[in-house]
């Protein structure tokens, strides 16, 4: 079972799965958009974002809009390919 090996621990968690799915199809999403999409609390979302960031699957860009901080999150190329691999692994597992 090669598929098991390709399953990525980083995407086991639902919240992280959701973050990656959303970032796959959007150029970027800011913190509040993600919060709305995932119906998450600030702290919970932030900790999962940090985990994905650590794995270099996402990156961010901090800016100030009207003196309020605004953080945009992007999926990195390595994050995108890792996520695709993970989806493929699930699909072949379910075959």
């Amino acid at each position: 079972m090669k598929a098991f090996k390709d399953l990525n621990k980083a995407f086991e968690n639902r919240m992280r799965l959701g973050i990656m799915s959303a970032l796959m199809v959007n150029e970027f999403l800011d913190f509040n958009m993600l919060k709305n999409l995932l119906k998450a609390t600030d702290g919970n979302l932030a900790s999962h974002l940090k985990a994905l960031e650590k794995a270099a699957y996402i990156t961010f860009e901090k800016k100030f809009i009207d003196r309020k901080p605004n953080t945009k999150y992007f999926a990195t190329p390595s994050g995108k390919s890792a996520f695709k691999k993970h989806i493929k692994a699930i699909e072949s597992l379910l075959k």
């Binding site: 959701g18 959303a22 199809v25 959007n26 958009m33 709305n36 989806i87």
Partner: protein, 205 residues
């Protein structure tokens, strides 16, 4: 290691999140049905303006000022009524689905819809001023179809299919100038109602 069912759920979640984050999914089938009904009523009014009672013949002369104005009023009323009904049902669906109505997807959808649509609207007004009524129905169908195809990237793919059908219908209507109103009533009336019913059954209200 997770169970098989959990992975099925994961895939569902991935798909759902991709859709929800990139597409406007609050579009209600009921707005299609209401737009269709409004269009049919408008077509009936336009028919009584443009055609002699119980006849298929055009009674409009080139540059007839009175009718141009009446058609313009009718067209504006129709658009406003259809948009208001559409917004009403879409708002209701967004609330039901616990979705924000005004977000990045809504903006993308509206901008992409508006560019061909506003162009078509301006072309129609120019044609109307020239008294070229025969071209109105085919061209409004074509521009509306282009707008739907353009906007469909940001919402249900069925919107694109509806757009393609409207474009073809508009082109066919070009071959039957003088029967434009019937094509218009079919495209904006019947097709909207059919589309609305399909969407309602498929995605719920």
């Amino acid at each position: 290691m997770k169970e098989k069912e959990e992975y099925i759920e994961d895939l569902k979640e991935i798909k759902e999140m991709m859709n929800r984050s990139s597409k406007f999914i609050s579009l209600s089938g009921l707005s299609g049905i209401s737009a269709g009904v409004i269009a049919l009523i408008a077509a009936w009014f336009a028919h009584s303006l443009m055609y002699a009672p119980s006849s298929m013949e055009y009674t409009v002369q080139r540059g007839d000022e009175g009718i141009t104005f009446k058609l313009l009023v009718l067209a504006s009323t129709t658009i406003i009524a259809a948009v208001l009904a559409g917004v009403f049902f879409t708002k209701r669906k967004a609330r039901k689905m616990n979705q924000p109505l005004w977000d990045a997807q809504t903006k993308l959808l509206l901008i992409n819809l508006a560019i061909p649509l506003v162009t078509g609207g301006l072309v129609s007004i120019l044609l109307l001023q020239q008294g070229l009524l025969g071209l109105l129905a085919p061209l409004t169908l074509i521009f509306y179809g282009l707008a739907l195809v353009n906007a469909s990237k940001y919402t249900f793919k069925e919107v694109g299919t509806l757009g393609m059908v409207e474009i073809v219908l508009g082109l066919v209507a070009m071959l039957f100038i003088g029967y434009g109103l019937f094509f218009w009533a079919f495209g904006f009336g019947i097709l909207h109602i059919v589309y609305g019913i399909i969407m309602q059954l498929k995605y719920g209200s």
